[in-house]
Every structure is written in C-alpha cells, then in structure tokens.
C-alpha cells in the first residue's frame, strides 16, 4: 500500500456492540443505511458524530464506530446544534424516533428546521413508543386502540412531519422506508451533502407493538417524491401525500447558520473597556 488513504467500508462504521432491537425491527436497516452512506462519502469515522435522545432508535450511536452522544429524551437536536456550531469541522448526524423528535422534542424540531444548522436528522417513525411498551406517539392514527394508556385510541389528529419540517424551514426534506435500506442510504448521503438542516423521515416498522406495519412494504411507493426547490411546489405535493410516498421532497438553497469563529481581538483589549 502506498500513502493513499485506505478505503472505508460500511463495516468500518459499525461498532462491535450488538443492537438490542427486536429481530425484524426497521431500525436495523437504518443503522445499515447510515453506515453505508458514511462509507460512500468516505468520511473519517473520527470526524463524524451521531447524536440521539431516548428511545429504541436513539440507541444507534453506540452501534456505530464514530463519536456519539446518547443524551436525554427529546433534546438530541439541541445537543447536536451545540456540537456543530462549536465544531463545524465535524459531520453531525442526529437519530431518533417519532416520540423523541415530535412530542417531547417538538419545539427543538421546529427551531432546528428554521435555524438550518448543517446537520442531518433521521427520524425512524414507527408511530409508537416502543421502549415504554407501546403508547401512542404524535404520528399514531387517532383510532389506534392498542395502548392501555389510550384504550379508545389517542383521538388526536396525527402529525405530518414533512409538512412541519417544510413549514418550519428545513433546507432538505425526504422520506424513506426501512424496507429499502439502500434507498435510505441514498437519502442520508444526499442529506449529509446538502448544506443546512436535512430532515429524513424513515418509515420504520415496529414488529412488536405495531406488527400490522409489516404491511407497509406493500403500500410504500418508491421514489415518488422528486426534489422541489420552492416551498410552494413542495407544499402542493404534500397536499396530496398520504404519508407513503418516498424520495426527496425538497432541496432548498438557504445558507446554513454558522456564526463565524474568527478571533479579531484579544482578551486584554476587551478588559481595557472596563477601566474607568
């Protein structure tokens, strides 16, 4: 071998820690897609960080061989924002679930979209809280009656994450399906490369609490979303969307938020201003 950099494969981005997810869980595919995308982009593992909150899908950082921060419930986007602003040289990926991202972390989601810091947020959406034994999440249908907490169904309109992301100002919006991990890898790679805040919803069935979601593979439509470049066009597409179209919905051109980090003065000069 010459001094040429060694080629990294998806395996180089996987850790030796084995997931606790149920066999059949869609999150395996997303983990695989993340590692494939990172390998495809030939990023150095030490220059990548995966940040998450709490929930099944938030376990991803430990399963990757990059830097990771498994924080508190709902705050992953905030943690990731701090990391990226302080360390713009890092590639920052945020992972989590629908409860973590849209319920307890809902406010951060809105503001991450509008702040447009250059990072990629992957939400594995299974319309349920898995780690607490299957309660309704913000994306659960109002008439889903299988939770002891809401035996009559949550009775609340389900949230539409793509609509929200678009309205709040995300610069890249896409949707994938865990049953098509290579396509998810494409969306992630595109999201990472697209400047600003990229949001990717991945329909990721929960085989334990939502076994009916195994049927998603017959409903999901591949690559029916094509990148629009204005919010109006993308909104129009969403008006007809039933939640099962996949692909890239929106790729905008807003410049990312990254306050400058160039020192222009020394502390002594600042201190002199206090002299009376």
């Amino acid at each position: 071998m010459t001094a040429q950099a060694q080629t990294l494969t998806a395996k180089d981005f996987k850790s030796d820690i084995k997931p606790v997810w149920c066999p059949g869980c869609g999150d395996f595919s997303v983990l695989s897609a993340v590692t494939k995308a990172l390998a495809e982009l030939q990023l150095r593992p030490e220059k990548v960080a995966v940040v998450s909150g709490i929930g099944c899908s938030s376990r991803i950082p430990a399963y990757t061989n990059v830097y990771g921060f498994h924080g508190v419930h709902g705050r992953a986007l905030a943690t990731a924002t701090g990391l990226k602003l302080a360390r713009p040289d890092m590639t920052v990926v945020v992972t989590g679930g629908d409860g973590d991202g849209f319920s307890i972390g809902g406010n951060h989601f809105l503001h991450a979209c509008r702040r447009n810091v250059d990072m990629t947020y992957i939400v594995m959406d299974n319309e349920v809280y898995g780690m607490t034994k299957g309660q309704a999440s913000p994306t659960t249908d109002p008439d889903w009656c299988n939770s002891k907490l809401t035996p009559e169904g949550p009775g609340v309109t389900k949230l539409r994450p793509l609509n929200l992301a678009l309205a709040a100002g995300a610069n890249f919006v896409g949707r994938g399906f865990s049953g098509d991990p290579n396509e998810v890898a494409r969306l992630i790679a595109e999201g990472i490369q697209h400047p600003g805040f990229s949001f990717i919803q991945v329909l990721s069935p929960c085989v334990t609490f939502r076994s009916e979601q195994r049927g998603w593979k017959d409903i999901v439509r591949k690559d029916t979303l094509k990148p629009r470049h204005t919010m109006a066009e993308a909104m129009q597409v969403l008006a007809e969307d039933d939640g099962f179209n996949t692909g890239i919905l929106f790729a905008g051109d807003r410049p990312p938020f990254q306050p400058g980090q160039k020192a222009v003065t020394e502390l002594a000069a600042i201190e002199r201003r206090f002299a009376s």
């Binding site: 084995k18 395996f28 709490i54 290579n182 593979k217």
Partner: protein, 167 residues
C-alpha cells in the same frame, strides 16, 4: 445487463450483502438467545462469503466498477439474495430460518435467470447461466434440508410474558 464487469460486480454484491444480512441476523438471534437459529444464520453467512470468494476468483482479471449501494440494478429494494429483515422473529425456528434462506436462494436464481434471458452479451449470458445452475443447486440442497427439519409447532411464536420496558 450487457457488461461482464457490471455483471460480476452485481454477483459479488449479491453474495456480500446477503452475507452481511445473515451475520446481522445471527447476531440479533444471539442477543435474543435463539442460539440454534443464530448458528444457522452464521452458516448461511459463511456460505454466502464462500460464494463471494468464488465470484472474486472469477473476477480476478476484471476491474469491477464501484456502485453505490443504491445504484445496483436489483429487481427489488435489496440484493437478490438479501433476506428481508422483517421476515424474522426472535422465536423463529430452524425451519423458518431455512425457509427464509430458501426464498432468498430462489430469488437469487431468478435474478440470474432474468439476466441470462435478457442480456445481449454472450459472456454475460454464459456466466449468468452458470450462476443459475449453482443457485439451483443451492435451492435443491435447502429444499432437502428443509424436508429433514421438523416443522414448528403451531404456537411457535407464543410468549406468555409481555414485552420488557426499557429506557
């Protein structure tokens, strides 16, 4: 598919992706203490890796193009022999595992068969037909294996305990 290098790149990816999936499934079965099935998936993975080595041998003098994972021309979302993860269960039995593998091998055979029938390149056709023959053999072996494996009881997925609460 009318280019030998492209064809061989697919053949290699088909086996490698399948091997990776089998390894992943073996790991998750081990995590869930389903050791028989874990061992079986581990064997499937090693078969796939053997086949990958064989493809590599055939491609020794060919420079294979690099495809991004999403650029391969599979019929479905994943490699032709990659087993879909959602067809697994923590209580699945060796019988299910072999069924799963058999389905994958048949898909692999069908993929090559499709290439053989549609290609305009003689060398690609020759290679694809070879692969069809090999995959048919795998299918046969698995069918026999399955025939000797006890069928699972009707309540194979019954679990008297509820799911565990985690974080």
């Amino acid at each position: 598919m009318n280019d030998v290098a492209v064809f061989l790149a697919h053949a290699l990816a088909l086996e490698e992706e399948a091997a990776d999936r089998y390894s992943e499934l073996a790991d998750t079965m081990a995590v869930h203490h389903n050791d028989d099935v874990a061992a079986l998936f581990r064997r499937m993975a090693s078969f796939s890796r053997m086949h990958a080595d064989a493809v590599r041998g055939r491609a020794a003098n060919v420079e294979l193009p690099h495809f991004k994972p999403w650029e391969y021309q599979w019929d479905g979302p994943e490699g032709a022999e990659t087993g879909p993860g959602d067809r697994t269960h923590y209580l699945m039995t060796p019988y299910h595992c072999l069924q799963f593998a058999l389905t994958n091998e048949r898909r692999g055979r069908d993929f090559y068969d499709g290439v053989a029938k549609s290609t305009t390149d003689d060398e690609v056709r020759r290679l694809a037909e070879q692969m069809v023959a090999e995959e048919s053999e795998h299918v046969l072996v698995l069918e026999q294996w399955l025939g000797q494996t006890p069928k699972p009881p009707a309540d194979w997925d019954a679990d008297p305990d509820p799911p565990v609460v985690n974080d």
